[in-house]
């Protein structure tokens, strides 16, 4: 096996391993599903669109005051999005001819897509259920905003120096102080129920079962996008027959009217990206070694070759020197001192001329 063949083999092996990596990474990816994590159940049948949650969010998170006051309820009519200064908004939707309000904020996914897309590891799913953001390493790439299926993160476009991504923190600082999120506390209708996620799923099921015909038999966020900490209950269509439980296909058109997508699938968003992004560390770690090694090998071969060349050169030079010396000594014996000196001089001149000729030849 020569050098060329060896390198071809090594290269193809590395490419093959890179292609094979996604499947193995997917299999080995397990996300810690914190069983004690908190969540919020948003019951849209109870929401009256009073915007108290928005006001409370603004207050507890010290966000800038909006242009229109929170008592102006007409803003719910426009389909607003969350932004860097509005971490939660309440929008009015028309569901089968009836006005239904829904609160928008970060859903705090069980396996967040933003965290999987962020190469700076700014996002983290915490054991308490919140998905937190640490901007110290943020480079402002906004991959998280692209990755989020709920369009939740907002970017500080107005910030000239160090703009950061801003989104609902699940009131993490309040949770740490054993307080419930500001919006939940402010809600006058308990349209937002705070509790352990496992409990909330039971509460939601109980509400669906105890009020036949009131709710769609589907808890949005129980499995959607791999499960979210914030879940949504929607009112049933009073004119249509009730849908079978937990059917994302049949519940889809209903939730679509609420601006929610049931086609996100049960698979955690992260699983789609962790595989591909899992290769990155491998490339970072393996490729420098591979190419560095190949480079070092070439370098060493060159060095060895040069050394060998120099050796032969040196030996040849020594041979000539010895031969000249022997010839001069012979002349000295037979012709005398003067002839030997002349001869030595001629020899040295001839060698010098040869060397300069060789040097010129090399240069040319």
């Amino acid at each position: 096996m020569n050098r060329r063949k060896f390198l071809t083999f090594l290269g193809s092996a590395s490419v093959a391993s890179a292609i094979a990596t996604p499947s193995t990474a997917k299999a080995s990816h397990t996300f810690p599903y914190y069983p004690e994590s908190y969540g919020v159940l948003h019951d849209t049948t109870r929401c009256v669109g009073c915007r108290q949650c928005e006001e409370a969010c603004n207050e507890v998170n010290h966000l800038p005051k909006p242009d229109k006051p929170f008592s102006d309820l007409s803003v719910c009519n426009t389909k607003r999005r969350t932004s860097a200064t509005q971490w939660t908004v309440v929008n009015k939707y028309n569901m089968n001819g009836k006005d239904v309000f829904r609160k928008l904020q970060c859903f705090h996914c069980q396996d967040p897509a933003c965290a999987s897309a962020c190469f700076a590891k700014c996002f983290q799913k915490q054991p308490d259920g919140s998905v937190t953001y640490d901007g110290t390493q943020c480079v402002g790439c906004r991959y998280c905003m692209i990755a989020c299926p709920f369009y939740a993160p907002g970017f500080e476009y107005n910030e000239a120096w160090d703009p950061l991504v801003k989104k609902c923190t699940f009131c993490k600082p309040r949770l740490d102080k054993k307080q419930i999120p500001g919006c939940v506390e402010a809600c006058p209708m308990e349209a937002l129920t705070f509790g352990r996620r496992t409990d909330l799923i039971k509460v939601a099921r109980a509400r669906i079962n105890n009020n036949p015909g009131k709710y769609l038999d589907y808890i949005y966020g129980e499995h959607d996008a791999g499960g979210t900490a914030w879940m949504v209950l929607a009112p049933a269509n009073p004119k249509a027959a009730p849908i079978p439980p937990d059917n994302p296909v049949l519940a889809g058109p209903e939730f679509k009217q609420l601006g929610l997508d049931t086609h996100l699938g049960n698979q955690p968003m992260g699983e789609l990206t962790y595989g591909a992004l899992g290769i990155v560390p491998m490339i970072v770690a393996f490729w420098p070694v591979l190419f560095g090694g190949a480079y070092a090998m070439t370098k060493r071969r060159e060095a060895m070759h040069k050394q060998a060349l120099e050796q032969t050169e040196r030996e040849a030079r020594e041979d000539i020197a010895l031969a000249v010396d022997a010839a001069v000594r012979k002349i000295q014996e037979t012709e005398g001192e003067g002839a030997a000196d002349r001869c030595r001089k001629a020899m040295a001149e001839a060698l010098k001329a040869r060397e300069t000729a060789a040097k010129h030849g090399e240069e040319a």
Partner: protein, 329 residues
């Protein structure tokens, strides 16, 4: 004498009528008075027995139901509402206790109580007693207020509203009824006696209750709410006055109390809301709304059902004034 034949005919009819009226039975008593039939020709009141095809020598079974056909007939659009096949036969012809092939094996119990009835695409979707009553109390706005919050407890008391004790009914009569062989006229007399024995339930007197309540345990941003307790009860009572369905099923004097004072026995001094609803989330009961939400859900839930337009749900100051010392919203 051109009208002689006509006159003679008239006289004959009159005589026949008189004879009919004066006819007496062989035992000398008046013959069973021809019942005042309903518009459709059915008996006005009936006893519906749990008819079973199986032999029932001991004659055991659920208490029969006294059914006022006349009243129900006037409340539905047409006979097919209940007689869904279009054939006005008794329900027990097809729906027996065990169910039979004619009734598609829908048992009598289901036929009378089912609420999850499959919608028939082409044709009439049948109704059961309970499904129709449920529809009424959740659609009529005078009922839907309370009943959007409280659903009837399906307990023994609830069953007894229809499955009443029939006085004077003998064991033989019941055995006959269960076999489906009781004379309808005899059944009607039993039903009449049962209805006569019914006692009317008088609602508790609202004037003897709290007149006005001050709801001030959460005063923070807003002033307390002055809740006119008596007025709310009087208003609801007035709205359902003359509603026979309500009269039949509201079988306890403090039935109105149970809407707001739920999950507790109907006492003269029920526990306060705050007894169960803490102002903070109760870890042990994750589904239980905290106090503020409990108030709002009860008030607005009932107002929603009754389609009370004002105060609007987002008009906080409609119920409690803004506190002056606090900064505005």
């Amino acid at each position: 004498m051109r009208n002689r034949t006509k006159l003679l005919l008239l006289a004959a009819f009159a005589l026949a009528g008189a004879a009919c009226l004066l006819f007496r039975g062989p035992d000398g008593t008046m013959a069973a008075k021809a019942p005042e039939l309903t518009d459709s020709g059915a008996l006005p009141v009936q006893v519906l027995f749990p008819v079973s095809a199986k032999p029932n020598p001991g004659a055991v079974g659920m208490k029969p139901v006294v059914f006022t056909h006349k009243l129900h007939e006037s409340k539905v659009q047409n006979c097919e509402t209940c007689h869904h096949t279009g054939d006005p036969v008794p329900c027990t012809t097809c729906h027996t206790v065990e169910g039979c092939a004619e009734g598609n094996f829908v048992t009598l119990e289901r036929a009378m109580h089912a609420t999850n009835i499959r919608q028939v695409k082409n044709g009439r979707t049948p109704e059961s007693c309970v499904s129709c009553h449920t529809k009424l109390y959740s659609q009529r706005k005078e009922c839907a207020g309370c009943h959007s919050i409280v659903k009837p407890n399906h307990n023994a008391q609830w069953c007894a509203v229809c499955h009443q004790k029939v006085p004077n009914m003998t064991q033989e009569q019941f055995a006959k009824g269960v076999a489906g062989k009781l004379d309808p006229m005899e059944g009607m007399r039993l039903a009449e006696a049962t209805i006569a024995a019914r006692k009317e339930v008088k609602y508790a007197d609202p004037t003897k209750m709290n007149y006005r309540m001050v709801i001030d345990s959460l005063v923070d941003k807003y002033e307390p709410n002055y809740f006119n307790h008596a007025r709310h009860i009087v208003s609801v009572e007035r709205k359902i006055k003359g509603n026979l369905l309500a009269k039949a099923f509201h079988n306890s004097p403090r039935v109105f109390c149970k809407t707001c004072h739920h999950h507790t026995p109907a006492l003269a001094t029920p526990p306060k809301c705050v007894s169960c609803h803490n102002s903070r989330i109760d870890k042990k009961y994750p589904g239980r709304p905290p106090l503020k939400a409990a108030y709002h859900l009860q008030c607005m839930g009932c107002h929603d059902g009754m389609q009370v337009k004002r105060p609007r749900k987002t008009d906080c100051t409609g119920c409690h004034k803004l506190r002056v010392a606090q900064k505005g919203d």
